[in-house]
């Protein structure tokens, strides 16, 4: 593709001379260790911005949903009954329950947390 410019101004010509001379210098460049160090340091800063741009591409976490109310029938259950119900549900749903639920130390959960877990695992329709 031709890039001829008609009637270039003196400044256009000087700019072009300077550009060609600079390109010639690039072709025979010899860098010092100081310049290489500067280049590496600049690379680290640019990488940080690139990482930020990449992070921005990942979808944002979904907004937290408010917990659904505990079913009255579950609320009426005592802690032991809830624990037994959870154990039964986990064994019946083997392989379908997330390990986070299946292997949780249930003893450290509050009664209401256990009831919520029970509601979550119970496949029967909500009342």
């Amino acid at each position: 593709m031709s890039t001829k410019k008609t009637n270039p101004s003196p400044d256009d010509i000087l700019d072009e001379v300077s550009h060609h001379a600079a390109q010639a210098a690039v072709a025979r460049r010899k860098s010092t260790s100081q310049e290489r160090e500067w280049s590496r340091s600049l690379g680290v800063k640019l990488d940080a911005r690139l990482a930020e741009l990449r992070r921005n591409l990942t979808p944002a976490d979904p907004a937290p949903e408010a917990a659904k109310p505990i079913r009255p029938s579950t609320l009426a259950m005592a802690r032991d009954a809830v624990l037994a119900g959870i154990a039964k549900l986990i064994s019946s749903l083997e392989g379908e329950v997330e390990p986070g639920f299946a292997y949780r130390n249930h003893k450290r959960l509050s009664d209401d947390d256990l009831r919520r877990l029970y509601d979550l695992l119970d496949p029967t329709a909500r009342e």
Binding site: S9, L14, L42, D47, L50
Partner: protein, 225 residues
């Protein structure tokens, strides 16, 4: 008289933050190598000398900033890079070229602002010679100083190249607006090798010119021509 500062709030349209595609980020990451940054630095260093020749203040920091800003401004969307249209090096080189040209023009425009400088147009006209008056007519008042400066430098380069027919032919091609390598080779009947050699010699002439300018600037005032 104090300058009036406009404090009226303007509601600029909301612009979405710059967020390039994954392909764009991959292309930047792949192309922005250490070697590419060093090439850009060499290019910027040579271009910066032109700014210095025009009276601008340039040092290593200025050169470093030219490269860092060209790349960082691309990552922040200040300058747009179409990764499908041109390589990152070409884009950054274009950015540096544009900015150094702007800085050079600015340096030329403000280097002669003395307290006893002619203030009215007629007074200014009286200080110009025939060549300057002709340039003034060709390129308008605003660019007269830039045009004069550019013509002077170009004449100096030609003077330095005296006897080197290939470099003179190269300069003649540039002077008529032939910029692309293939076009220059066709106009001057140079082989690729002869072109490369001529460009190298041109680069050295510019370097020589820069060194002469630096040497002159270092001389005490009374000794300068």
């Amino acid at each position: 008289m104090t300058e009036r500062v406009d404090t009226t709030e303007t509601t600029a349209p909301e612009v979405a933050p710059f967020q390039p595609s994954e392909e764009w980020i991959d292309a930047f990451t792949k192309q922005c190598t250490e070697a590419m940054r060093l090439d850009l630095r060499e290019y910027a260093k040579r271009r910066a000398r032109g700014v210095g020749r025009a009276g601008g203040h340039v040092d290593d920091g200025y050169v470093d900033d030219l490269v860092a800003d060209a790349l960082a401004d691309t990552l922040f969307g200040v300058v747009a890079w179409d990764h499908a249209a041109k390589p990152l090096y070409q884009h950054a080189e274009d950015t540096i070229r544009y900015r150094t040209r702007h800085d050079r023009k600015r340096a030329v425009r403000y280097q002669h602002k003395r307290i006893d400088a002619p203030s009215c147009a007629a007074e200014k006209q009286a200080t110009y010679g025939l060549v300057e008056a002709s340039l003034r007519q060709d390129h308008g008042d605003e660019t007269t100083e830039t045009a004069i400066f550019a013509s002077e430098v170009f004449a100096q380069v030609r003077e330095l190249a005296a006897g080197d027919t290939d470099v003179l032919a190269y300069l003649d091609a540039l002077a008529v607006g032939t910029y692309a390598r293939a076009d220059i080779m066709e106009t001057t009947n140079m082989s690729p090798r002869a072109f490369r050699n001529a460009r190298d010699r041109l680069g050295r002439l510019i370097e020589q010119l820069d060194q002469e300018v630096v040497a002159t600037a270092r001389q005490p005032r009374g000794v300068r021509a």
